[in-house]
Structures are given as C-alpha cells and as structure tokens.
Symmetry: C2
Subunit: 340 residues, 2 copies
C-alpha cells in the first residue's frame, strides 16, 4: 500500500468551542496534529492568562493521552491592556487574536479602531513580549468580496508601525492578500485553510446554496484560489497551515440565517495529502503542514511522525455528541488518503 510519512503537523488556527462540542472536536484535531493554535472567540471569550490556563487544561483533558499540545491565544478587545498581554505571555499564551468588530462568529466585542491609542499600546506590548498578532483580515461593513483587500492597508500600517511585531494574516482568500504578505517583511506571514485551497465562490453559491462551504472570509474567484494554491505548495516560508476548522451545530448551518465556518478537522490532512499529490508537490507537503509555522512561531519542530495510507474512505455525514451534530467538510465524498 502506498504510504506517506511526515513530521506531525501543527494547525495554526482552530476553533474548539467549549463544553460537549469541545470534547467532541478536540480529539479529531489531536489525532493528527502535534500542536494547534486555539482561537479565543469562545462564549465567554478567552481574554486573560487565567482564562487561557483554564481553557488549556480543559482541552488537554479532552485530548486524553494523545501526544497533543494546545497553543493558547487571547482575544484582543478594546479593554485589553499591556498588562493583560504581559501576564498572558508569562503563562505561555503565544498569540493575541484581533477580530474587527462584527466580522465573523462571536466578534461583537472586537476592535473598532486599530489606530486607537489603547490598541497601539497593546500592539507595542505584544511586540515587547514576543506575542504574535493574529488577524482576521477583513473590514466589516464593506462589500463582502472587497473586505480582505480593503483590510490590507491596515496590515501594511501595522507592519510599518510595529517593525519586528510578528503578524499573521489568517485564512487568506485573495490574490491581493497573498501578494501583500509576500511583499511585507519576514515578520509578516499568512495562514491558509484546506477549504480555501479547494473552494471558490462557485462552491458556495454557484449551483445550489452550500452552507457547509460558507465561511468568513468567503471563498473568492478561481484566480484568487490559484494564487493561494501556489503560496501553499511552492515551498514559500511565509505561508503555513491554519485550517480555521470551525464546528457549528447543523441547526445553525442548515437554517434561515446560517453561521460562517467550515469543519475540516476530520478531513484536513487527507485532503492536503491529496492536494499536494495531485499538484505533484509532495516534496512541500510536510514543509507547509509541519515546518513553516513552527519556524515562524519559533517553536521546535515536532519529532513524532504521522503516516497516511492510500486507502479510500467515505467521509461520514456528521459527527455527533450529546445534543450536537456537526457536518464535516467533504461529507459523503470519498477521500483517497487516510491517517494510518
């Protein structure tokens, strides 16, 4: 049987939620990741060192005896202070996540104004502490397809105003976003999701309406996807995996007002294996999933490995726990690769 063995990946963008949902989804990421950067937009949010410690402990319990380490973030909100940042860094929080207000799920407490003096103090404190700034890079309120490109001025302003601050433009969906990151200094990098490697807007609204392909930022044009694919598979040291795997109960997706988010945790690695194979770039598979992100964050590479085998399986229609049902990306379709 054909197999591929790589250094264990890291997922530098994942949503674990809380409670039963968390206990259901954490093992699906822990099954293939050495580490995962856990987003703080839970209800209630992860705002402080104390919150992050408690949340990390819960995640570790949910992961069981897997060899898995959650990497913690705090949510940067208008009330965040330099002291919040310093205290969080001391307990091992490695990144602060900024959501422009209202831009996606659980972002109503997000940042209105990046140029506000309080925010400037926080960004300075993050640079001093060596905490990475993770950005949901969209300007809310603009036309949906323009939001990422319009955010790039803010990205460039941040990179120029806080040289040395490590910044990640998350879940890039546009050619303009890729180009902006390429042109900025090494302290600025980008994450790429599995679904944005595969989808365009046609897969959301081009035929039937597909709530399980709907996310923020929404998938864009084929030309955008082409640029994202090239950034992921050509061995760039500025782009790395962040799946943005985001579980939502089926009743909040298949409804009159559907939530944004694609749940890729159970299928991400098999889909990536297939993607790099299909594009004959298998030499950069491990680089994208397991090397570039660790390098950027200044973390040691994972030493354990993971093996995929060419052994087709059909993605289940859903994953369920008590009162929660989540439809995974690619549900009902066949995948060629599986984690051995």
């Amino acid at each position: 049987m054909h197999t591929i063995t790589i250094r264990r990946p890291d997922d530098f963008h994942v949503h674990f939620r809380t409670g039963e949902m968390m206990r259901m989804v954490v093992p699906l990421t822990a099954a293939w990741c050495g580490r995962a950067l856990v987003m703080p937009n839970t209800i209630p949010p992860i705002l402080t060192a104390t919150d992050a410690i408690a949340y990390s402990d819960e995640i570790k319990r949910a992961a069981g005896d897997n060899d898995f380490k959650p990497l913690m973030t705090i949510k940067i909100v208008p009330t965040t202070t330099p002291t919040t940042v310093e205290n969080a860094k001391k307990v091992g929080v490695i990144a602060g996540k900024v959501y422009p207000v209202g831009v996606t799920t659980n972002s109503d407490d997000g940042v209105h104004n990046f140029h506000d003096s309080g925010m400037i103090d926080v960004f300075s404190a993050m640079r001093e502490a060596g905490m990475v700034l993770c950005l949901h890079g969209e300007t809310p309120g603009d036309f949906c397809l323009d939001r990422e490109e319009k955010f790039l001025d803010t990205l460039r302003w941040l990179a120029e105003t806080f040289p040395g601050l490590k910044i990640v433009l998350e879940h890039i969906t546009t050619a303009a976003g890729i180009e902006a990151v390429e042109q900025l200094p090494d302290a600025v990098a980008g994450t790429i999701t599995v679904h944005h490697l595969l989808l365009t807007l046609n897969d959301v609204i081009g035929d039937k309406l597909s709530p399980h392909h709907f996310c923020k930022p929404v998938a864009k044009r084929p030309e955008d996807r082409g640029k994202i694919r090239a950034a992921a598979m050509n061995g760039s040291n500025k782009f790395f995996l962040g799946t943005d795997s985001a579980p939502h109960d089926i009743t909040t997706k298949e409804c009159a007002s559907g939530c944004a988010g694609v749940f890729t945790a159970p299928v991400a690695l098999p889909l990536l294996a297939g993607f790099f194979q299909q594009h004959e770039r298998h030499q950069f598979f491990e680089f994208f999933t397991s090397i570039v992100g660790a390098q950027f964050y200044g973390l040691p590479f994972n030493t354990k490995t993971i093996t995929l085998e060419e052994n087709p399986w059909v993605v289940p229609p859903n994953y369920s726990a008590e009162g929660q049902t989540v439809v995974p990306f690619w549900s009902g379709k066949e995948l060629r690769w599986r984690v051995a």
Copy 2:
C-alpha cells in the same frame, strides 16, 4: 390615510409550479396583478400548445373569480420545432423561455447551443409568429458572478441575427446587463425583480448565510444594484417588472443544498410602492409595474386599478398548504404599504 392608486400591474415573470403549491401561490399573485407571465419550467415542463392550455386552465381555477389572466409561455428545449412554436402561438402562448442547460431550477433540459441550426429555425419561427423570446441570461459553468456578463455576447448575437424578434433579458443583476439592453434596438427589453432592487450579494453571504435571499442570477455588487434601480425608476421604456417570484418548500431552502429562488409574490407590490416613494420617483411607479411591459408585449393596458394604503403590517413567517411551507421574502419584517 395615505393611499396610492395605480393601474393594475402585470408581473412578466412568475413561477407558479403545479399541484398544491400552485393552488397556494396563484392567489397571492392574482391578488394584485391583472396578468402574469407564467414560467414553463414545471415538472413536467410546459413544452407545447396542449401543455399550455391545460396549465392555463389549472391556473385560472386556482385564481378563482379574481380578475386575473395568466399569460402563457412554453419552454424552448432542444426538441422544440418551428411547428411547436406556431401551434403554441395559435392558442395564445405569447413567449418562449430559454434556459441555458443547468443554469437554474429545473433547467437540465435547457439549451446547449444557441447557434445550433435547430435553434436558429426556432428563433426564426418565433419572430415570424410574433412570439417573445425570454432569456435566462447566464452562461452556466463560468464563475458565478461573471455568468450574466458573459451571456451578453449571446444576447447581442440574437438581436443582430434576428432583427425584429422581441427579446427579454430576464431578472437583470448587473450594470453590464442593463447597459447592453439600453444599447440594443427597441425589440430588446429587460425585466427587473423586486429583490434585485433591494439586495446585493452582502444580503446573501455578507453576514449570515441567507437562503431566502439566494436566487439565480445571484444578487451582485452595490454598483450593479444602483444601475438596476436607475433603470427601474427613471421612466425607461426598456425595463419593466418581472418578479421571478419562485416558491420553494422550506425544506429545500434551509438545508445542505439549497434551491435558488425568492418568493416575493405576497410582498412585491408593497415593497415596490415603498421603493418608489423612498426614491421620490412615485411618478414612475405605475409606469414600471403596469405600462412598459404591456407596451412591449403589445397588450392593452389593464383598465382596473389597485389601491395601496400606508398601513404597516408584518410579513408572515411563511405561507402553508398541505405539506408545503414557503418562506416569503421579507418575512418577519414590517412593510409600510399594503394592498387595500
């Protein structure tokens, strides 16, 4: 109480479906329209004079004693012949509808190739018979937001190849579509829906995912809507009302693979009244809804009138008949105008 009285409108694009669904939705259009052009993409489709007569009779029964007349269409498919066209015209069918194959609901039997010799014979026969050619103007397979603009070459080719053939570009969603119709001879006109006067793509995917705002062609950019609004409200004699009101059962909208179509029949006229008032173009309200379309189709104007009163009401969450539940456009929102 503030009231508006206009000549009874015509809706030059409506989906009535069949069976229970038809019996539920016909009265909601008949309540405010003198006439409505009924789309033939039912299951099974309306392909011939015989089909159209039977369907028209059913619709009249569903309308009850309303002073309402269905205007019949046939679906132009690859097996349509000049004789089909001639026979249909003889029994009063006034238009033939072309769907490019696979472009929207029930269009799998649509037209592959407009330049095919069989199609050319059919278009010639339509011109001879004085039958209007109604077009779903999108090229399937292209990127979803480009499909209408890419279709415009076909529209221009049809107008040039069959001068005098009356052609309607239906449910226009782009500035380019409006401009193409404006620039072509008088035999080419366009219909505009109520929902495309009000929505942009932001209302479909910009915040939550909104299946009840999802239609084909999908709503586009604010600049496109601006051009559509101007075409509707500035007294042009090339653009008239065609709501494309399209009922779908709620289970086929709020699901993993949602159908395209917006059900505006119960709210179209109140929304239009508000739209023309808000833009201070009330002098063109009747012109758009009740004059331009009749003129283009060569029909007498409706003699009866309809009165709207400024008397707010909340749009119901749904309309139901045996085993069918349809969520209307604007459900749960307040409307300022109502049919008296």
